[in-house]
């Protein structure tokens, strides 16, 4: 994979990222890196700055200070769409779906944006709207829908989908661009225990089969600790801990942060 650079540079990396909203420091000098083919967890109480860090990494928000690198190259000034074309995909805490499209069309659009991008323009002169979809597009789309158990919903418009299903669709859409690194913001909220297990299996499979790196934000701390190779802990915009799941679990600073938050105790100490 990393034959060109000799050392393996992280898929995506934040260096000294600071974000201020007026007087509020939402992120303070945060460093974080996601090596290839690994799962990195990011946890922290409500308002810790996790979603803000996602916005910075994905290019939707410019940091007040600090840099973002993808595969060792500085992309701080690059647009969200440029980063997406470099292989970054993400989901949102509040799903950003397209209510005018069906479930399947979400995946089709994402697939085409990655594999047959020119069709946005060429379809207009080649009557692309009236032709059948190519076989490999159909195959890949159907496989993704099946993997995330969306086949039954394929032709439904997305407004009115339950939250859990919307999340699965966001993941399917993100995977359809064959990303190198995938950022997931609370993918399991809205899913029941069985669906969460299935999702974890699917995601682990994606990492193993396609070498995709995951950055995972979760309130379900057990899920993160179970899946991740490395876990980072944010509190009030500051990174208070980093290490293997076992190390983080044992870190007194983490326990203190979660005890300070109103609902985290039994999750971290379990």
């Amino acid at each position: 994979m990393s034959a060109t650079s000799g050392t393996t540079s992280p898929r995506i990396e934040a260096r000294g990222v600071t974000v201020r909203f007026g007087g509020l420091v939402a992120l303070d000098q945060v460093d974080l890196s996601v090596p290839p083919a690994s799962v990195v967890g990011l946890v922290g109480p409500n308002g810790a700055g996790k979603s803000t860090l996602f916005a910075v990494l994905s290019g939707l928000l410019a940091p007040s200070k600090g840099t973002v690198l993808m595969d060792g190259q500085d992309v701080t000034g690059a647009s969200a769409q440029a980063r997406a074309r470099r292989g970054l995909a993400r989901t949102f805490q509040h799903p950003e779906l397209f209510p005018g499209l069906t479930v399947r069309e979400h995946v089709v659009l994402a697939y085409r944006l990655r594999h047959t991008r020119h069709r946005i323009w060429t379809d207009l002169v080649t009557a692309g709207g009236f032709r059948r979809a190519p076989v490999d597009e159909d195959r890949r789309t159907d496989a993704l829908l099946a993997a995330l158990r969306l086949t039954a919903h394929a032709h439904r418009p997305v407004s009115g989908l339950p939250l859990g299903t919307s999340r699965l669709l966001e993941i399917a859409r993100a995977l359809a661009v064959d990303p190198g690194v995938l950022l997931l913001d609370e993918p399991s909220s809205g899913l029941d225990a069985r669906e969460t297990d299935e999702l974890a299996t699917t995601l682990t499979g994606v990492v193993a089969d396609h070498g995709v790196s995951l950055l995972l934000v979760e309130h379900d701390v057990e899920l993160v600790l179970g899946m991740s190779d490395v876990v980072h802990v944010l509190d009030f915009g500051v990174k208070i801990s980093e290490g293997s799941p076992a190390e983080v679990r044992a870190d007194p600073a983490v326990r203190a942060a979660y005890l300070g938050a109103d609902h985290g105790e039994e999750r971290t100490s379990a």
Binding site: S58, G59, L60, S79, A80, Q81, A84, R85, L88, A89, R90, F92, E96, L97, F98, P99, G100, L101, T102, E105, V108, L109, A110, R112, L113, R114, T116, R117, R119, I120, W121, D123, L124, A127, G128, G129, F130, A152, H155, R156, P157, S159, G160, R173, V177
Partner: protein, 640 residues
């Protein structure tokens, strides 16, 4: 000099009252009232009805019209319309009030009778007393206007600052959800707000009538000018709105001191002053990135809003049968109808092509552009100019001029890309008004209202051949739009429309998509304009008035802004129905179709899909229901 300032302040004070009304309703109910001019007209017309036509004493007529009828109208409209709008998408909110602005004036005319060129009295007793302080001239009407603004400001500020209701209004501004939860009824407060703002609309209408004329055009112009002050105030800041309104009035008046009153330049510049103001402020806001949609309260409000915002519950990938049948029926019309009706049908089909651009930009792209008619006008004038003055073949002229107009549309698209929906609507309307004043009314194009002669191609001189030619062009462009919608580009357009963050993180840039939509829509509009000119055999600047464009939009959304045949049905209906009413019913009923179209758009508040889409869905539901009775097992899971 002083006398110009005195006159300007009077004009500015009327603008200020209008702007205050617009700001108050926008801030407290989230509805930007495009029907303000129509409401002002209704009240002013009723005042004229009482005072002049029925000889009521002035104070009584004023109190009944402005103090009772106005607020009553506001309350009524709140109950039947505005109440439903708060949680609708910006598109529906804007289009529904536009529908009201289209329907209300002809309705008033139908009930109270049409007036032509009357001199309307203001609130001053006749004959109007004139005073001469400090070597300048002030008349009683002007004094009353100053007094009216002062009273409005004092009472308004007092209400907002010091009363319980004012507190509730300000709470409502922040969050309806919170207000509702803490026990204050938003309904009662909104009712009060609409009554008050309708009173202001009526007052402004009565005050402006002596100078601007008691006409829909005069009132609509007043409203459009007040828009400028409201935009300057970023839609919410009342003191700024009032200050800018006064400044606009003064500038408009003082500028006349330096212009030759009879010159063409003066006729173009003077009415453009408010729109130039608006342009300056819009650019300033856009540059500072402060012209997004006003943030809508907290997370709870946003959640409620998104739920009710008219997100489609079904995607329209409708079949081919209904469109083909419609196309076939329209194609038969020129073959069976006589020459008069065939001519109207041809005009309707040409109009349908222009409406197709609204289908694209609004129905598909979700952008509220109110200047498609202006692009059509550009296309028409340029094509006629090339044909008549440079001897081009007509069809080539239409095609080439449409291509020449495209960059204008693209530039406007790029300019408005970062603006919220409401600002886009306002910018495009302003652009249309400016184009009307500065381009369409130039002698070279206007030609005392006759426009520029536009000959048809020699082989399509008769109405029948022309109608079929126009239909063929519509069919080609319609197919192009259908293909666009079903293709990757269509998916991309829909994606960008509903979530910019979602699109960008998929690698889909916003700019190329919006440029594509605006380029194609502009081209289609300009071709439609060219064909309208061919239909009339003249490029008539008057037929491309932006306010007529609002009626176009009302017709289109009434029929359905998404289906391509919606544009065809709307265009033909718009061109043919008024003549049907005129021919077979008493003359005064001629405006009834316009009233119906307006109310059709108003109905959008209840049913955001439009008529065709609604009935198509009902038909589908019906057939599905029958099918499911026949084969219950199969019909179960498949909702496609």
């Amino acid at each position: 000099m002083l006398s110009y300032v005195v006159a300007g302040l009077a004009l500015g004070a009327i603008y200020a009252i209008a702007a205050a009304s617009l700001v108050v309703t926008h801030v407290s109910s989230g509805v930007f009232n495009f029907a303000f001019g129509a409401m002002a007209f209704a009240v002013a017309r009723f005042y004229y009805f009482l005072y002049v036509e029925h000889g009521w004493p002035l104070p009584l007529a004023a109190v009944v019209a402005i103090g009772l009828f106005g607020p009553g109208l506001g309350v009524l409209l709140y109950a039947v319309l505005f109440r439903h709008l708060r949680l609708r998408s910006p598109l529906v909110r804007i289009v529904a009030t536009i529908g009201l602005s289209v329907a209300l004036p002809p309705l008033v005319n139908l009930v109270l009778g049409q007036l032509v060129n009357v001199t309307a009295p203001g609130l001053a007793p006749q004959p109007v007393a004139v005073f001469r302080p400090f070597g300048t001239v002030v008349d009683m009407n002007q004094l009353i206007i100053y007094a009216a603004l002062s009273v409005v400001l004092v009472v308004g500020t007092g209400l907002l600052r010091y009363t319980d209701t004012g507190l509730k209004v300000r709470a409502l501004v922040d969050s309806e959800a919170l207000t509702a939860m803490s026990g204050v009824s938003p309904t009662r407060v909104s009712l009060g707000v609409w009554a008050f703002s309708a009173l202001l609309a009526g007052l402004a209408g009565v005050l402006v009538a002596p100078t601007a004329g008691l006409s829909v055009d005069g009132m609509t112009f007043l409203m459009a000018a007040a828009f400028a002050a409201v935009v300057a105030a970023r839609l919410r800041n009342l003191p700024t709105a009032v200050a800018v309104a006064l400044a606009m009035g003064v500038v408009t008046s003082v500028i006349q001191r330096y212009l030759d009153a009879d010159s063409a330049l003066s006729a173009q510049i003077v009415p453009s002053v408010p729109f130039l103001f608006m342009l300056v402020f819009l650019i300033a806001h856009a540059l500072r990135g402060r012209a997004g949609d006003a943030p809508a309260g907290g997370a709870l409000d946003r959640a409620i809003r998104a739920e009710a915002a008219g997100a489609p519950t079904a995607t329209n990938r409708s079949g081919f049968v209904a469109p083909l049948v419609t196309l076939g029926v329209v194609a038969c019309l020129p073959l069976v109808l006589d020459d008069f009706w065939t001519g109207l049908t041809g005009t309707g089909i040409a109009l349908a092509t222009a409406l197709l651009s609204c289908t694209l930009v609004t129905g598909e792209g979700g952008m509220i552009w109110l200047c498609q008619i202006t692009f059509a006008g550009f296309g028409a004038l340029l094509a006629a100019d090339l044909t008549a003055n440079s001897g081009w073949p007509p069809l080539a002229a239409v095609l080439v001029s449409a291509l020449c107009v495209v960059p204008v549309g693209v530039a406007l698209g790029l300019l408005t890309i970062r603006l919220g929906n409401l600002y886009v609507a306002l910018v495009t309307l302003t652009f249309g008004l400016l184009a009307q004043n500065l381009v369409f009314l130039r002698d070279r194009f206007y030609n005392s209202g006759q426009g520029i002669y536009m000959p048809r191609p020699e082989w399509a001189l008769d109405n029948r051949t022309f109608a079929l030619l126009a239909l063929a062009v519509f069919a080609v462009l319609g197919l192009f739009v259908v293909n666009l919608r079903r293709s990757t580009a269509g998916l991309a357009v829909t994606a960008v429309r509903w979530s910019e963050a979602g699109s960008r993180t998929l690698g889909l840039g916003i700019v190329p998509v919006k440029v594509l939509v605006s380029a194609v829509a502009t081209f289609v509009a300009a071709v439609g304009g060219g064909f309208l000119a061919l239909a009339y055999q003249s490029a008539l600047p008057d037929s491309f008035n932006p306010f007529t464009g609002l009626v176009w939009l009302a017709v289109l959304v009434t029929v359905g802004a998404r289906p391509v045949v919606g544009a065809l049905v709307a265009g033909v209906a718009f061109a043919v129905l008024p003549s049907v009413f005129q021919t077979y019913l008493p003359t005064r009923w001629a405006e009834v179709p316009v009233i119906l179209f307006g109310f059709g758009a108003v109905m959008l508040a209840r049913n955001p899909e439009g008529i065709i889409a609604m009935h198509a869905r009902q038909l589908r539901d019906l057939s599905r229901w029958r099918q499911s009775r026949r084969e219950p097992a199969i019909a179960q899971g498949d909702l496609a």
